[in-house]
Symmetry: C2
Subunit: 126 residues, 2 copies
């Protein structure tokens, strides 16, 4: 019997913590969530519009990292000029569920966290 390979977040030698860091970052999360909600492939310009605030450079880097990890497909349509379409792989789709939960938590708790920060900073300023 072969042991099932699996990462370990608490092992400093294991790259799982870097993976978590990246998939839990705002741009990666937003990109996966947009593609998952749309349910189809999107072009660069459509992604950029929906992920409001992202720069061209950061979106390019985000997409390349997701493609390298096997979470994103990049399909080039042989038109002139070529059109590039981005979609989620099955593994990328499997990431959408935990990210939806994290998004839900952040949106739900943002007002309470904001109130607490104000209180904390006022106490500290005294």
């Amino acid at each position: 019997m072969t042991a099932r390979r699996r990462g370990d977040l608490f092992d400093p030698e294991c790259p799982t913590r870097q993976l978590l860091d990246r998939v839990g970052s705002k741009w990666t999360a937003m990109c996966v969530l947009v593609l998952d909600e749309t349910g189809t492939e999107l072009r660069f310009s459509e992604l950029k519009r929906q992920m409001s605030g992202i720069s061209q450079k950061v979106l390019t880097e985000t997409l390349r990292a997701l493609e390298r990890d096997g979470l994103l497909t990049r399909r080039v349509e042989p038109t002139s000029p070529p059109r590039v379409h981005y979609g989620l792989t099955a593994r990328g789709q499997s990431l959408a569920a935990p990210l939806r939960q994290l998004r839900w938590w952040a949106e739900e708790n943002m007002p309470g966290v904001d109130d607490h920060r104000r209180l904390y900073d006022r106490k500290r300023a005294r």
Copy 2:
């Protein structure tokens, strides 16, 4: 009727995306997960030992940010020298569920992601 306040990840003016970025980062996630799994308060040295690889400086910053957000309690025991105990607030505990899911995803998918990266880099190197 008052509208229920709620953040919006896709609004560039809303601080939700910064909150998601931070709570989805490896050290915040590990800190919340350790405290949630332990189920009791921990001292700085115990947290540092369990979050192997973290520096004293980064742990201090991580704890302060969590405290400022109202996710962590900091209790000073009036001994000599004073002992400081860290624990999760109810809001901090509510973050543990989505983080457990994200951790599970990262640990489960790390080997597959790693394989895909190797393949991708080999193709690019040709």
